[in-house]
Amino acid sequence: MMHSRATVPQEILLPVKPAFIVATLIAALLANLLPWSGWWLWLRPDFVALIVLYWCIEEPRTLGFTAAWLLGLLMDVADGSLFGQHALAYSILAYAGIVLHRRVQRFSVTPQMLHVIPLLLLNDIIVLLIRMLTGSDFPGYQYFIGSFIGGALWPVISILLKLPQRPTPDPDHA
């Protein structure tokens, strides 16, 4: 009996260039820093969390805790929030990504989403807990919409970020 994962053809990709990872992380930071407001703010997924998770799953050896943690610090400064809350959330996210990477990589894109959404929710819940412990009110359930949208963006991101690693077809063997 064929297992579902056997039907997913495994591509052989080129190794990722570290510069590309850095570029995507900067792009994610930029996307987070866009002037979101009103309803868009609720709909906004945490792009940095999404990209950190992606690289932790795809390249657990390259992107690790240090990068996730530093990005968290930068997000804390940009948001003007308490130091360390995003740093903590992203470290835990990176841990989850690194621990689960073998499992998640086995799945095709749609079941991967089912792994990604809970992880992004976990990220949100950590930030929420810290905020509520330091005296904020519960902002309402729309706070979690962003994670689902982030999960919905996962297929797009996994296609886009794999593009540069696709080997160019060799003209001699065409």
């Binding site: 900067i26 930071l29 930029l30 996307a31 987070n32 820093l33 866009l34 002037p35 979101w36 407001s37 703010l41 609720w42 906004r44 690790g64 805790f65 996730a68 943690w69 968290g72 610090l73 930068l74 804390d76 400064v77 940009a78 948001d79 003007g80 929030s81 308490l82 130091f83 360390g84 809350q85 740093a87 903590l88 470290s91 835990i92 990176a94 841990y95 690194i98 621990v99 810290i130 905020r131 330091t134 005296g135 904020s136 009110d137 902002p139 706070y143």
Partner: protein
Amino acid sequence: MEHQAPPFFKTGPTPLTRLLIFAFVSLALLVTDARFKYLDTLRQIAAVIVYPLQRIASAPASIARRAGDFFVTHSSLRNENARLVQKSLASAALLQQFESVRAENAQLRALLGAREKVAVKSLLAEVLYAARDPFSRKIVVDKGSRQEVTGGQPVIDQFGVIGQVTRVYPWLSEVTLITEKDHLVPVLNVRNGLRAVLAGTGTDGALELRFVPLNADFQNGDRLVTSGIDGVYPPGLPVAEISNVERSAAFLFARITCKPLAGVNANLHVLIVSAERQIPQRPPEEEKPARRKKTRKGG
């Protein structure tokens, strides 16, 4: 006892160990930041790193806005010009009165020996982005310590107070809006001079007056201005209008809801006001007199 073989590849500490290390450092940072406020230098450094990104991220919106400004029609410009001329005439009359009143006021104050000096300087700042954080009501503006902005300065728009500078970075500063939860502004009711404390509720467009006795004379539609007793906000800036007064004998205090007058989160430009006031020195803490035992008379 089972012996575990040494690993073939050295990969450093396990993920769990690393997680524990980073989580511990983050928690330490959190506690330090929340309790002791020692981390300003670290925050400044990180702010300088993020600054270019922040500017790039807010560039498309501000370019679009400027392009929109460029393509205005002739008639709308003429209308606006006519309106402004009219307004400037109207305010010129007021200004002349103001000049004489100010001179008179200064003279009277000199007579009284009061040392109230309100030299208001202001700095126009552009709002880079508004609260990206659903928990807090803050905006980030494009003037910082390089432009001599300091923490605690009030920020206003053309209608009234919108908030207060709470964090200053080299080229940016963070303004906490008056709608931020538990942000307090001491105010004065214009109609009768009653003082109260206005607090943010954390939701847009709603403020509440705290600790107002049930019988205090506050009515719907009363305008509240800053009273200036805190030494932060200069006195007389409009803040809010009372929108609902609810008195119930079940509570100690009246529930008074207000609406901010300024477009608290609908501005492109704001003024950072620096009110240089000479506030009399806080009197030194008096030593608590040793409690005298009450002498009871009679049973």
